[in-house]
Every structure is written in C-alpha cells, then in structure tokens.
Symmetry: C2
C-alpha cells in the first residue's frame, strides 16, 4: 500500500475504564499501527460474513497473526435476517469448541449486523471478553462505532436482546467503503444526516453542500462525515451511556423505522433505508405537533431523497404501525415515545395522539 494522503483521525471515546479510540482513515487494515497495543491473549476470533470475508478476512488475519498465536474465524451468512440466536450460537459454539479462554479477543469484521452480534457474543461469553470493531460499511462506521450497543433481533422485535458493551478499539478503514453497494452507501448516509437535525444545524448544512462528494465516495468528505458523526454521538453517549435520558435522541426516525423493518420482515428494507424513511415521518410529526415549520419536513424529505433513500413508507396499515411501535424499547406502559425535532439541532422525546400519527402515516405511506 502506498502512504495514505489523508492523516489518521482519532476520535477518543471517554468512558472511564471503558475508554477507547476510533481510528478513521483509508489504508488502516494493512497498517501495522492499527493493530498495535490491543489486549494480549493466546488467541483471537474473527467474525465476518460471506460477503465481507472474501474481500478482507485474509488481510486482517495477517495483521492479527503478528500478535496472537492462534487465529480462529467464523463466517456467517450475510443480512439482517441472520442477526439471530442461531448466528449468536455459532459464535459461542466456535469459542467453546476451540477452548477459547476469557482473554480471547473477538474481532468484528463487517457491517452493523456483524458488529452487533460479535459485540453481544463478546459481552456474554464467559461474562465478557474483549472485542475490536472493524466496520466495513458507512452505517456501521458512523453508528456502531460509538455507544456500545450490541444486540440480536427476535421475531417479535428488533434488537430486543442485547447488552451495553464497549469495544477496545474501532478501526474504520475508509477504503472498505469502495466495495460497498450504492444502496448500502445511501443507508449509511441516513445515519449521517440524522446528526444534523438532532444536534448540529451547521453539520446539516455541510451535508447538503457535500452530498455529491459523499455519494462519489470522496475520501476527504467521507472522513469528515464519519468523524463528525462519531464526535456528535460520543458527546451524546458520554452524557448518558445506558440510555436513560438524552441518548434516546439518537433514535430520531427509528421508532417509525423499526416498525417498517419489523412489519416488512427483516432483510426487505435495509436498516438505514427504514431510518431514512422514518426520519421523513418523524420530521412530518415534528411539524404537525409543532413548533417546526413545514419547510423543515420538506427540506428533510429533499435531502433524504437526494441521498438515494426511500421517502415513502410501506402501507402496513395504521393499526399495524401503532402495534409495532408500542413494543418498541422506547415505549413505556404501552405509550409510544417519539424523538421529535424541537428546533434545528435540538431534539426531545414526545408522545403524540394516535390520530396525529395516523395523519403522518397517511401522508407518508403508499
């Protein structure tokens, strides 16, 4: 590899003894420095999927081989529909059948699904072993890198079983985004866009001005988008690691989005697509409940559409949407709680009359 023209950006995540660094740059997979100083152990286990493993597994194995005597691998089927007990068990079974001990380092090589499952396996194997995130999608670089949320899905709801568990390091190699299908690039942009309305009005302006560069995979633009997204998320999570308060604002668009994902069946819509469309709905609800002006919903819809994301939700029926949203983790005592925009760059949790939600669903589905 030639030397990278871009410097390695480090975003430190400060969580006391659970602190770690996010490294962001092209060329990180093959840079020895990316892999130095990880926890010592006799073995490491790389968890990847059938799409990502052929592209990057051997390169990661080569780097890890300098630090660990034994490198095991688990390659899972690709897709959100495999974020389940069976895949989790495959990781646990591999750990046990290779007599992996409580120092074994797990390495998640892939997107958010691989990261979530590997992190959860690391959280519960022998009550906790270290793990490293190597996110290879834009969505996982901007979203899963910060916050320590790990989980699997359940037929009755998304991310219903999981743990808060922090990685030892996140290695976000921007070159891995070159192989990302356009649909997944767009899905990642949904989470980037999210950080604007909830926390940083200037960042939303920047995204609007640089969306074409992002879609063209310009490395400098991607580096800044990943860095700023991680910084904002770290700022939010740092105030509320276990999601008892402000952290919930990161779920802007997610209450509607999760309903779409569960209602359609996992794997039909990408998570980022559902969130993109969910943000259109949440923006619409923010306008209808007040005090955001109608122009805000129109602006969000334009940007989300330009990013290549769906802006019209599936017709599941209002009752089905409401039922799905009532089992959302943010619901309490059966009352749905929405993250709504209160002013550009500021969000809060609100309930809304079912009739108003029905209006939004009517307006935003077809």
């Amino acid at each position: 590899m030639s030397a990278s023209p871009l410097p390695v950006i480090t975003v430190p995540i400060a969580l006391d003894e659970r602190s770690y660094d996010i490294l962001i740059a092209p060329g990180l997979l093959d840079a020895a420095s990316s892999w130095q100083g990880l926890p010592k152990a006799a073995s490491a286990l790389i968890v990847s999927n059938e799409t990502v493993a052929p592209l990057y597994l051997e390169r990661v194995r080569a780097q890890l081989g300098r630090h660990y005597a034994r490198i095991e691998t688990v390659v899972l089927p690709d897709g959100e529909q495999h974020k389940d007990w069976a895949s989790l068990n495959a990781i646990i079974d591999k750990l046990l059948s290779t007599a992996s001990d409580r120092k074994t380092v797990l390495v998640a090589l892939g997107g958010g699904v691989i990261g979530d499952m590997t992190g959860f396996a690391a959280a519960i194997y022998m009550r906790g072993v270290p793990f490293v995130q190597v996110p290879t999608t834009l969505l996982s670089q901007v979203d899963s890198s910060v916050g320590g949320k790990t989980a699997i899905n359940h037929p009755l709801g998304k991310n219903m079983v999981g743990a808060f568990y922090q990685p030892q390091r996140v290695i976000a190699d921007l070159d891995t985004l070159d192989t990302l299908p356009p649909r997944e690039l767009s899905a990642g942009l949904a989470e980037v866009i999210k950080y604007g309305p909830i926390a940083d009005a200037a960042f939303l302006d920047w995204i609007e001005a640089n969306l074409n560069a992002l879609l063209a995979r310009d490395k400098a633009a991607l580096a800044y988008a990943v860095q700023r997204s991680c910084e904002i998320k770290a700022w939010v999570v740092g105030q509320d690691e276990r999601e008892s308060g402000i952290r919930a604002i990161l779920n802007f668009g997610h209450t509607f989005g999760h309903a779409i994902e569960t209602g359609m069946g996992y794997g039909e819509w990408l998570h980022g697509e559902a969130v993109g469309c969910g943000m259109v709905m949440a923006a619409e609800l923010s306008v209808r409940l007040g005090p955001m002006p109608a122009e805000f919903a129109a602006r969000m819809r334009r940007l989300i559409e330009r990013a290549g994301l769906p802006v019209v939700g599936p017709k599941l029926g209002t009752e089905r949407y409401l039922e799905l949203m009532r089992v959302d983790k943010k619901a309490e005592g059966g009352e749905i709680r929405f993250v709504l925009i209160e002013a550009m760059g500021r969000a809060g949790m609100h309930s809304a009359p079912d009739a108003l939600v029905a209006e939004v669903l009517d307006h935003c589905t077809a």
Copy 2:
C-alpha cells in the same frame, strides 16, 4: 402470619449506583415491607419452576399485585439441566409476547438455577431491566445473593454464557428452607463451609460447632450462616466486581466441582454436592502442594461428610478430569488454575503439575 421472633437482618451490598440490600429473616415473603420501594413499572414477571411455584408463587404474586398493575409468570422445569438457551428463550418470549417494556421488573423465585437464568434474562432483555432475587434454597441465599453473576450452561461447559448484573434487592426468607429436601440443604452447606477456609477461620470453627443446628434448620443458626456468608462474599466482591483478581477465591472447590458436574452430565450431582467433593480435592491439593498440614484435608473431609455431602468423586479418568478443567473459565492459555488454601482463612490462585493433580484424583475418586 405471626410476627417473626427474629429481627430482619439487612446486609447492604455497596457497588456505587448498583448498590442493593439483602434481607434475611423468616416470614419475609408475606411481609409488606419486603416489597416496598422497588422500581416503579407497569408490570412484573415472576420466573419460577415447577417445584417452587406451587409452594410460593401465589403469595409472591399477591404482594407484587399491590405495586404492579400486571403480573406475568413463567414456570420452568426444575433442574440444572434446564439452565439452557431453551429456558432463557422461554423468559424472553414471555416478555416480548406480553409487550413488556424496559422498566418491567423480573422476579426470580427459586434456587440458583432460576436466579442465574432470570438475572441473565434481565441483563439482556432490551439491554437490561431491573430484577429482584427471591432465593428459596440455602445455596442460592448464601451464594447467588451476592456478586451479580448470571449465566446459562452450554453443552461444552457450565456457566459459559452470562453477564455480571446486579439485582435491585434480595429477599431471603428463611421459612422457605423448611420445604427444602435434605440433599439440597446439604448442598447449600457446602457453600457456607467454603467461606471458612478461604476467608474466616473463626467462621469455620462456628460451622463445626453449629452444624447440627444448621442441619435441624434452626432459624437463628441459619440466619447467622446466611448473613456471615453474604458478608464475606460482599467483602470479596466489593474489591473485585468483575472477577479479575481476588474474587476468584470464591471458586474454592469449583474447578474440580465443575469437572464433576460436566463429566457426569448436568443434573446428576447437585452443584453444592460437586463443590463439596471438589473442596475435599482442593484441600488435598493444598496439602500436597504445601504449605497446609495433612490435618487440614482430614478436617475438611470430616466436616463435609458430616454435612451430608459426598467426599469421594466419580471415576471419570484423570485425562477426562484434566480436559474438563482446561476449559474452565479460570483456565488461561490451557493452564488450569486452582484456588488453594495458603493458610487457614486465606486462599490464592495456583497452578499445579498434572502429576500432582492425578495423585489427588486417584486419592479422592472411586
């Protein structure tokens, strides 16, 4: 219920924001004060088993009914062999199918198996909901009440999947021990006895002097045994919540014991029986590795036998024992680590030559 002749003993467990109280006394199940001040929620879920539910479930439900609008129940089959993914899933499925939210309070009503599984379910459902332990066996009152260890078993090893997760409160009603089969009372005494050699020589003297009263289920004797065991465990865990150092001494007898349990198949020996026999082996190894005198092993063997516990292990074969102990969570890089007694009331982690372990196994199995 008439007023209890014994005062309610409270053992505070200080773990910063995860602090809680252990209540110890007869008559606690039906005392309104036992159930006051728990986290507010719309619903609670009682998890119990087929043996304990007919005895106590309705009484617990009646008390909880004063505080929670909806009380759900899951009754699992009884036994260590059911501490598995299937039972864990039954709890998770019940939570999801009743649309339980992230404030739902789980109540573990039963022994260590119910406590471990319910605690683990609470740790991972929606990444963590509150739970209350109502231990109904001596073993769970002295052992599971402190430390926050939750887990399920795996065909390849015991407690291999789990989490550190603290309850909101432990309600140890000594009257529930009246219905305990003698074999289970003895199994509980194994963990009580354990606290003597590892941490408190005077407590070992007290147990020897009061063993008959304990076997006769004298409430005052049981109250002190539970209190002192919880205090010692709290003192150890308080120094090392995540088991990176001193906490491992609580596993005195457990490396051999886990090998017996796994080797025989879960459910053949009770956990406390395996630990009792494992302590005989560990005492023997402490003597052979030095510096404990031979009298120590003989004393431990006499006391464990008087408590109604097995002192001779199954003939699994030395190689099988070693193989089983090498996958123990305390093993590192394939080396078995034993908790051995260094002086009466003090324990430490040691490795031992396979040949010496073989001698001990030869001496202690038949």
